[in-house]
Amino acid sequence: MTRGTFYRVEHETRYVHTGRASTSQHVACLRPRVSPRLTLHDHELDVDPEPGAMVERVDYFGNALHQFEILTPYQEMRAVSRSLVEVWPRAEAIDPDESLPWEAVRDAALAADAPFDPDIEFRYASPYVTLDPSLAVFARASFPEGRPFIAAAVDLMRRIHTEFEFDPGSTTITTPVARVLADRHGVCQDFAHLQIGCLRALGLPARYVSGYLLTDPPPGQPRLVGADASHAWLSVRCPRVGWVDLDPTNNALPDVRHVTVAWGRDYGDVSPLRGIVLGGQRQTLHVGVSVIPVEPPSAQSA
């Protein structure tokens, strides 16, 4: 019996306030997303102080959400998401040069007799990905006429990786994509948004993926950037191939070292933990993520 790769994932978020927060409400998007390539063996979300109520639901995009409120005054709030996941490699390797020409992907949705495609919304601008004309100009260098879609998208990813500087602190989550493009630096969310914007500007479908990276690489491989916090990349959809993930921060096609948590149009749809706090004055955020490979549980329990 074949086995995937097992990871124990721990994602801790702490808010420390300078004053007392009286109440707060939160939406967490922290449970790894089950798919043919990810089996979730165990998950728990621990919150301190104890929430007054916690509700689980599935959002518009199919992601699992936890919604909770804290009704006791506090100065520090801590949410820890712990999971045991099993990640599987793709069934078939991707040959980027074998995909359809990008124009065909673009035009597929425009055909008059095309049935309704629910994924069409990943071609549109979204709150965090506004489509500035400069995006298409930048993207076009990777999209010469007739080039296979995946090959072109991989080339765009490579260019973002080589031409942009990974620079924590240089941007915030609200920095517009066009600004990231002009300044040539950012963090993983920015690069994901940038590439998504470039693809959508050409009429191509791309979605935002949030998740984690393996913390310590296998011997002989470099440590990936973004492994100590939650990570972000993107996914493009190609007819016959399906969704293909691309990680412009690491110039990699994610395989078994990435753990997917959720996807949506952009960061706003899948932010890991958002909340509204009453009182509390100033706050500082501390985030820690660890993704550790573990032995598969014994055959009996599996």
């Binding site: 009286s22 959002d59 069409i120 549109y124 749809d269 958002r274 509204i276 009453l278 706050q283």
Partner: protein, 788 residues
Amino acid sequence: MPRTPTDNRVSALLRDYAVPKGHFDELLDDGRVLRPAWDLFARHAGSLTAEALDRVQARVDRQIHENGVTFNVYAAADGLARPWTLDVIPFLVSAPEWQVIEGDLRQRARLLNAVASDLYGRRDLLTERLLPPALILQHSGFLRACDGIRPPGGVYLHLVAFDLTRRADGRWAVAETRAQSPSGAGYAIENRTTIARLFPEAFRALKVQPVGGFLQGLRRALLEDAPTSGGDAPHVVLLTPGPYNETYFEHAYLAKQLGFPLVEGGDLTVRRDRVFIKTVSGLRPVHALLRRLDDDYCDPLELRADSTLGVPGLVQAWRAGHVLVANAFGTSLLQSRALADHLPRVCERLLGEPLASVSLGADERPQLSHAPVWSRGAVESRGVILRVFLATDGDGGYQVLPGGLARISSGGNDRESVSSQRGGGSKDTWVLANPNGEGGSRSEGRPARRYAVAADEGTTSSRTAEHLYWLGRYAERSENCARLLRAMLSRLTDNDALPRRLRTVVLGTCRTHGLLLDKEARHEGGASIEHTSAVLERALVEGMLDGKKHHSLAFNVAQTVRVAAAARERLSSDNWRLLNRLHQQLADSGGGPIGLDEALEIVDQTIIALVAVGGLEMAHMSRDHGWRFLSIGRHLERMSYVSATFEDVAESSLRSEPALLEWLLDLSDSLVGYRLRFMHHPEWPHVVDLLLLDSQNPRSQAFQLAKLAKHVRLLPGMQPTDVAELLRDIDRLLAVVASGDRTQGELFSRHAVLDNIIGQGQQIATGLSDALTLRYFSHVYDLPRATV
């Protein structure tokens, strides 16, 4: 030319009336003959002369102003003040025409409700390609957070409005849809009360359909649809963005008409998926809210994170089915003009019937029909847009407000100039009854169910309580300020009334109350009496009207009106009109230099208006917690004033001077009372008695203390420990006052006793204000902040 008995009069008025080519004429037909409804109106409208109409229009303008329809005290700061004008000539719609409009729009409202149900549910309209996907999925009003939520009863639209324009061929078309929180129904009803009384005979002759039942129907639907649990009486509130909003008047008006408390986002809180209002008695459940806040501002947790106007968790409470939100979140999507283009096929699919109403094309510029408007002595023609309102009838259909808000362009023919934000005006819309008695509001026939609506006693929100408390304080402070000014200004010209040697004391009091600057008050020096009187007079008169100067009369009155506006749904319209008129009067006087005589006149008028305001509070407000906070504010302020002015005199060696004592009695409106009782010149022991100790004098400190003790004991949820110390102090003080032998002047020879009484009073005032703030008010202004 019109061929009717009204010929001569009417044609004289219509000399300049002309409708541009290509626009439908509401008034005259192709042969320039009055259309039947207008003809009937002209016959019964009474004296239709230019002079009469000018007079009536002036009255309407004044009335609207006094009702405060335009009044937005915050508007001056951000430049949003636009006069809301109301034309005296009503807009007439004949019965057959209305029947068509009514039927068409009822269907359209049902259709839009079905569209919302589909788009936030199965989305057949997309999968069956009846709507282009980009139209919905790319629209910022398509709220993914609302996906799959089915509101109580499947009703997405409780109140919906359509802006209609009449095309050249006479057919009405829908230009705009107001689906999420339509405004204007309150204005439409308010307009009716103003205009109908101007033409009572015409109003009867035309059998104009009444508009009053519409809000009752909406009220009933909200009460019936509100999800309550355990036999609770349904509690419905009206959610407003607050007094800064340009249609705040309407929010307050509707809240009063519907009998729902007016609340802001900060007044509500969500706990365990249920909505509560923060009242002075603690949290009280809310089962439905009629919102005047846009979709995306309603919940910073799930919608716009930067909104401070909303209620965190509201979407989740709605999702859980514990609260009705009217209209449903996500309905702004239905306002898309592009959507209207696709409605014919959508209607066939969802309702199985053809769409009756016509939509204006997404890019079509409407040619507005023209109606007569009274404009500076002549009838002119102006473009008209008619906003028609529908409310759910509780049976899956809609009732139509038989009337509406007719808005007229300010001059041009385009739609832009019609918006009330751009200075256009409005008209009262008269819908004529069908001669055979059909039509009219359907809601009339339904039996009215009685609801034990949650009594107001428990639902004074913390915010309203705080505003009422400050209303009490500022109204009292304004009156005190005016009395001090009158006492000064009226004595400046008369050396007998205020001998020079007393001025140091008097000017000190003016200084502590902020009426004079330090240097002005010390300006005595060696100058002649005439000279210093002139200087003082100028300083006092100029200062009192300077609204930027804190403690000035204009400032205090402006503050009074500001807090009154924020608590306006709790005040009677008479109360509001008095305050509004007063504020306007002071603002008008602030323009140029005025003389002593005029200043005294203004001060007198101010006192009369404020006394009337105080009288209305006593005569007309029900004795709920809100009133109690208002009264506490008044008594606290009065006590501070009495003891502060008293102290100035008590500390002076001149305190036995009759002129000084008369002045002191005058400050507290107690001069007449003194004379009635003592029949001679004021003497110090009697003044002490009257102003400090006499529990029968409504201006005395003892009186304020007794009232405060009584009100504070009746406050809701007040733990004895909160104010126990304060109440003990009050009782102790009152006991000292009662036990002293006042007639023998025992108390008055001993300074320490007097100092103690005054000092303790002042401490109690401060302590009580702090205790109330801590216990009832402060948490309201704790702003929510987002973390992402």
